[in-house]
Symmetry: C2
Subunit: 308 residues, 2 copies
């Protein structure tokens, strides 16, 4: 579309996601005004130094004043407080969205914190293991999916504008029911993080294998898990508390499957192991064909391509 | 060292590891003769087409004739058969090594298959998710650790030559007891693969979340696991059968830790979750400081650096 979907975008929370939204707006929607706020004064100061937003305000209410789109980029456990803190400054016709990793509970909290306001939650399925105001970059959303979970009574014009906004930032938009989102993400994101945090913890706690050995020989597979397990602990604590039931259900299924493989190893059932291991390649092929991962071996890590 | 550690290197098994050993010898030890063999005639034909070795022989015995180093690069379950198949051609003074991911059982099998011969097992902790004769490349071992597990009566001169060989290929060598190797690798490699194969299987089997959704929204973390779960199924079946006891023990510890986190989620114990998630970042830092992973966010995947 030719016109920018919003005149003025305010971002609350200036970490990896908030910073990336602002960088992407600066790059892909250069005529759009940007303001930002973070509850941490040190983060606000750093955001000013690196010009993360046109203006970094001293209060949330000041940051959202005059904005027609507000993007809440705080951990899901802090959404309600962040919404209440900015409410006094919010324009009556502003649209509020967020980038939280769980949606049903966030939607309920935002509805309660901002009665009568237009709220359409979003979840751009994108990120890295880094955090803080310096972690954001404009290309984060490129070719990634952004799930939007509109309430039943969402205004179609506002929904169209929000969709156009994420598409302008490079994302592909999928509309979904909030409850379904939470079940899909429980398996594609939350369970993988829980498993990665667990195995990295297990390896750290071994008595007979030293931490130095775990680090040295991590290229056998373990190092992949350490990337995810280096993600922001506050964000992930909140995700598991917020999407508790779906995560527990997916975890139950995972544990059943793991028990089955454990039994196959114990019984030396090579055929059962082979059959299981042979059918998981197709999913990887699908992910690469859909442009959702780097097709090069080992993610194209620099130790193989001569860059390091 | 100035002189090449071996005059003639024979490789049995022309997949990712065998191909990489040959490519690395061609690049880093250009005066060394190379011969190769694979039990699969199609692989032998392809290896000839791409000049993977100076000569690709039609039998294992022919391939090792005249070699002073033989590197067995077959799945650990096929080591004993591969050793027996080549035994008739093996020079009396040749050193035999391998690249298998488990060591105690492989060592026992090679000792039995090659009585009285010099055997010093190796395990270069390096690989990608790809397999086959086209998957190998010379830089695979660069900056990776290669664990060598010499038997107590190993000849020091041969051990020194083997060490020099792996170092010439770019690896750093660590000597270790075979049993300790098997426990270290159970946690840094075998358990991560088992977990990744499990979670990818769990996601494929869900009824209420479609395979297409799992693929689309895999950038939330899941896609990382699919890379490892795309590894060669025969190789990994053999690893779990061969290193059964150490894997089962590490799996038991992992399950205990996972149960603890599950309980924290169920009880909504945010402090326990935060404490666990906050202590796993240090391991990632250690891995990056030791040069064992790409320091760029998200492994430097191409979707973030503009390469794709």
């Amino acid at each position: 579309m030719s016109a920018a979907p919003f005149r003025h975008v305010a971002v609350i929370g200036l970490g990896l996601l908030g910073g990336s939204v602002l960088r992407a707006v600066q790059q892909f929607l250069p005529g759009t005004a940007t303001t930002g706020y973070d509850a941490d004064a040190g983060v606000r100061a750093r955001a000013r130094e690196i010009a993360l937003a046109g203006t970094v305000a001293e209060t949330a209410a000041d940051a959202v004043a005059g904005a027609d789109l507000v993007v809440l980029c705080v951990p899901v456990g802090a959404m309600a407080d962040a919404a209440r803190a900015m409410a006094a400054g919010l324009s009556p016709d502003a649209l509020v969205t967020d980038v939280g990793s769980s949606k049903a509970r966030v939607m309920a909290q935002l509805d309660q914190a901002l009665p009568g306001r237009a709220v359409i939650p979003s979840h751009p399925v994108a990120g890295t293991e880094q955090s803080g105001p310096d972690a954001g970059f404009a290309a984060l959303f490129r070719n990634r999916w952004c799930i939007v979970t509109p309430p039943e009574d969402a205004d179609p014009a506002r929904l169209a504008a929000l969709t156009a906004f994420w598409e302008a930032l490079g994302a592909r938009v999928e509309l979904m029911d909030a409850e379904h989102h939470d079940r899909v993400l429980a398996v594609t994101s939350h369970l993988p993080h829980l498993i990665a945090y667990t195995i990295v913890g297990t390896a750290s706690d071994l008595e007979e294998v030293t931490q130095s050995e775990v680090i040295k020989f991590s290229a056998g597979g373990f190092r992949d898990f350490t990337r995810i397990a280096a993600s922001d602990p506050t964000m992930w604590r909140d995700v598991f508390l917020s999407n508790r039931d779906a995560v527990l259900e997916m975890l139950q299924r995972f544990t059943e499957d793991l028990t089955e493989l454990q039994k196959a190893i114990r019984k030396r059932d090579g055929d059962a192991l082979f059959d299981h291991f042979a059918r998981t390649r197709a999913i990887r092929r699908g992910i690469i064909e859909m442009g959702q991962d780097d097709a090069r071996p080992d993610f194209g890590r620099s130790d193989h391509n001569g860059a390091a």
